[in-house]
Amino acid sequence: MNTGATGFLQRYEGLAGRLPGDSALRSAAAAAFKTSGLPGGTQQRRIEAWKYTSLRPVAEADFQPDSAPRHEAETVLAELLLLDAPRVVFADGTLRTDLSVMPPAGFACFADQPDFGTLSWPDREPMVALNTMLARDGAALHVPAGFDAGVVQLVSIATGDGDFHPRHSIRLAKGATLTIVEISAGKGRYLLNTVAEIHVAEGAYLTHIRLQDEAATAFHVSTTYADVATGGTYDSFTLNLGARLSRTEVRVQLSGSGAMVHLNAAQILAGSQHADFTTVVGHAAPGCSSRQTVKNVLAGRSRGVFQGKIEVARIAQKTDGYQMNQALLLSPYAEIDCKPELEIFADDVKCSHGATVGELDAEQMFYLRSRGIPDTEARSILVRAFLAEALDAVADETIRNRLETAVEQWWERQKA
């Protein structure tokens, strides 16, 4: 039975003993992956967490990780909207110090110091199992107590038709502050399958911006596990613009009282693009809050997915959970799937979720046109306004401007 696992497993067998880190963990992950296969890799197996997203096209793709790159990494990098800040660049899954501007301290790479962390579940998550099996490199960032490490860019570029499995680890000690801007882009028919583990200690503050602008022929899977301690904040924003198929999964445990998480996202899709934003927020301590606003703009035959689960433990009184999914459908063939799940065991909590789906507002369209603005220009104004609001969640003005530019470029590409 082809579950799409065979090629990956063969490669793992071939590399046995040559991959860094815990080989027992890798072989357990390989066993789990052999059993599960890729989600949707066969018609028979259905996983609820992958209800709306099938990786069958990944199973059918023939990745060639060892073939020569078809593009220069420098060329791909030059096209990115980078900030004037340290950047750690991975090209086809391997750290490139020559393209990087290293942060002054607190950095190690997975290839040298492999650390699989403690939060991930390779036995339950097929793509995490695949990553655990084949991970070669990644970034480990550590910010010491009370230190503000500013902005660090984590850049992944792909230059050919391979599959890459970066393994990142980000640890903020007590009272530390860091902004991660994670940018992924490339050229080719590749698979990027990232796993990141994040620890935000007491009173620490991590801002995590993701700009996914992969090639239109690429697959992007990203799984993040985060633990937020007492009074800590994990503030994340994901902008999904690229990839033929993308899945961004974030699992956050609010483990100390007063911890806070923001999992905001905007997905802007056209053609036959598919983007899945899936979150699980565990409220495991009292007085924590979670905020999730996911905005989708869907053109053509594209499909957006938001699955958001909030789990409130018995001990987690005074939980404040909020979830909102908004979709603007620009075509009768576009589709949005939204699945909120609340699992509440405490009795004094505030949890809400909502969803709106709509076309462009007819009154707003008429108002613009009555002022002389032609139909297509009026549509463009209203879509951009919706998107501008989606980016409002990004507090840093410089970063928001970069994201706005990325959206603007996306919009120009659609018009071309």
Partner: protein
């Protein structure tokens, strides 16, 4: 300027306009008064091309061209402007950018060069000063968080910048205090000239004290019942519409 003949229109199956005949010559300001549900706002929307209404008969020509055959943006480019009774909020759309886009779209349609941001802001600031509007109204999102009076003044600002040949004001006076009313009237009066006409839709005679019309028309049950000079508005203020409608029936 504007010539409406036998105009009938409906929304869904419901007829609203039942044969409107009206001519507004160049340089004239005409008022349309009438009770609620008479079809006043419908007339404004039909003239500006709103799709919810179906024109079932009649003709409208604007400076000799068939208005009903045009898209809303073409009507605007031809010089028509509707000041909305309930101006629409556009979250995420900056007021200055919106106005510049509109002005440049109209300029483009006329084969004129577009204004850059600096040229436009100079013009917009001058106009908003003249209308006693705070500068920050240009920086805010279109009508978002505006008070009722600010929204109406924003309509007048748009009109001042777009410089239409025919302005239709749909109850622009409703909800305004006397100072705001004067500002709106001044805004229209400033545009008056041989090339500018206005159709002022109103419930009350009050606005017409400051914006004196050449003609007043009474619209009821989707038709013009009576037309007259400015004195007709004063008569209506005293006797109301009921008597006139009964008389016409």
């Amino acid at each position: 300027m504007l010539e409406i003949k036998g105009l009938t229109a409906s929304i869904g199956d419901k007829p609203i306009l039942n044969g409107v005949d009206l001519t507004v010559p160049p340089g004239e300001v005409h008022a349309i008064m009438g009770p609620n549900g008479a079809g006043k706002s419908t007339l404004g929307y039909v003239l500006s091309g709103r799709e919810d209404y179906t024109v079932t008969g009649g003709t409208v020509t604007f400076n000799g061209i068939d208005l009903l055959d045009m898209e809303p943006e073409q009507r605007a480019a031809a010089g028509l402007f509707l000041a909305f009774q309930a101006p629409v909020e556009l979250p995420g759309v900056n007021n200055a950018n919106f106005l510049r886009t509109a002005l440049n779209a109209i300029r483009r349609a006329h084969g004129e060069s577009e204004l850059d941001a600096v040229q436009f802001l100079k013009l917009a600031r001058a106009e908003s000063k003249r209308l006693h509007m705070p500068d920050d109204m240009l920086k805010r999102n279109v009508n978002v968080g505006f008070s009722g009076g600010e929204k109406k003044r924003n309509e007048v600002l748009q009109m001042a910048i777009l410089r239409p040949k025919l302005a239709i004001l749909d109850e622009t006076d409703s909800g305004l205090d006397i100072d705001a009313l004067k500002i709106v009237a001044d805004g229209v009066n400033a545009l008056r000239g041989p090339e500018f006409s206005a159709l002022v839709i109103t419930h009350h005679q009050r606005l017409l004290d400051y914006l004196v019309p050449h003609r007043v028309h009474v619209l009821a049950n989707g038709r013009i019942l009576r037309s007259g000079g400015p004195e007709l508005a004063k008569e209506l203020e005293k006797s109301g519409y009921a008597g006139m409608i009964a008389e016409a029936a």
